[in-house]
Symmetry: C2
Amino acid sequence: MLPRKIADSTVRRLAIYLRFLEEFQHQGRDTISSEALANRAGTTSAQVRKDLSFFGSFGKRGLGYDVHALADRLREILGLGHRYRVIIIGAGRLAGALVQYAGFSARGFEIKAVVDRDPAKIGHVWDEITVEDVADLEAIVAREAVEIAILVTPADPAQALVDRLVAAGVTAILNFAPVQLHVPEGVDVKNVNLAVELETLSYALAHRVPR
Amino acid sequence: MLPRKIADSTVRRLAIYLRFLEEFQHQGRDTISSEALANRAGTTSAQVRKDLSFFGSFGKRGLGYDVHALADRLREILGLGHRYRVIIIGAGRLAGALVQYAGFSARGFEIKAVVDRDPAKIGHVWDEITVEDVADLEAIVAREAVEIAILVTPADPAQALVDRLVAAGVTAILNFAPVQLHVPEGVDVKNVNLAVELETLSYALAHRVPR
DNA sequence: TCCTGTGAATTAGTTCACAGCG
DNA sequence: CGCTGTGAACTAATTCACAGGA
């Protein structure tokens, strides 16, 4: 069950396949070909089969994949079999959007705490979660047994906060702050930078061959 | 000014380099080596030099790059020399976060309109922008001369909205809806899927070699 | 000497194409 | 037959390594 070193691009596609498998399941389909899945996910059938082949062979030749079984297997591969306890650092509007985002809880990511350093925000209640003081970060991480942190702060305080999170035992961080974080071996960081996404669009616009 | 096909990964790094160059500029540094830039951006000096080399040679051997000149050049390459007019489709909390996000306007992305189909949201004012009725989408796109749309809707209405946007002349779309959008040649789509990001973290956690 | 710019080498990722099983 | 699973071929991206200019 542990082939070594799977490309990030493959893992991302698996997550996307899962989304469409659930949709097919919901529609009552119980079998799906690599071709049909590829069409939905915006890739090729060979890519789908190759991605899945890293983890075993789940299809039936001549028939395709069992939608339910493959979805289960992908959830297992992606580590979505249990619920994760998540803390959000920073109580700005993006944090608010994440707290409410249904896609997270549907996938087992439970937001257990939100912290900020601004006294004007501390004490506010968002979707049943009270914004707490970042000064108490370590105690909150321990109390909620948090495994994943989502960092939604400006750039400057980000590294110091990550150091505290890591010291408190957090080993996975989704980082929205526009800095390269330094973490010890064994801690995973995923960066999301919304401005960069728009800038790649800008690049595409600027270099488009006029039709 | 149009070299061959540049990899998306390269364009993303250029945007990241620009961010750190501006930081260095702000600190009063006026020269920077590929090594120092790579450290900040989380890559290697060879990668930095290779990325830049696709567009020309801007450095001085033995010295490094002129911070100001390189930043200017990157802004030009990325097409950030002028302001873009942006519409946001969907007035949920994520839309609210994007409207307020300083990183966009700092880079010249001006949010000119927000639309939704929910009468309860239409008419609300966000940061000087009034949420309008999506029924008037085409008129609003024309009125504001919008070039870029940010789609922040659920999956189901996304494709129909994109068809209307494209017909109205929008040629660049940042898509947060979890669907693969179909667009004609000449229209660029960038997908952002926050759940996928968390799921790749989950994968990393599940497959981590215990220390 | 220092650090860029860049071909060459290497590694990673995708697509092809077909054998083989249901 | 139809569609998977997978080596082999190909294409893309990264890293190496060094010549050469400031």
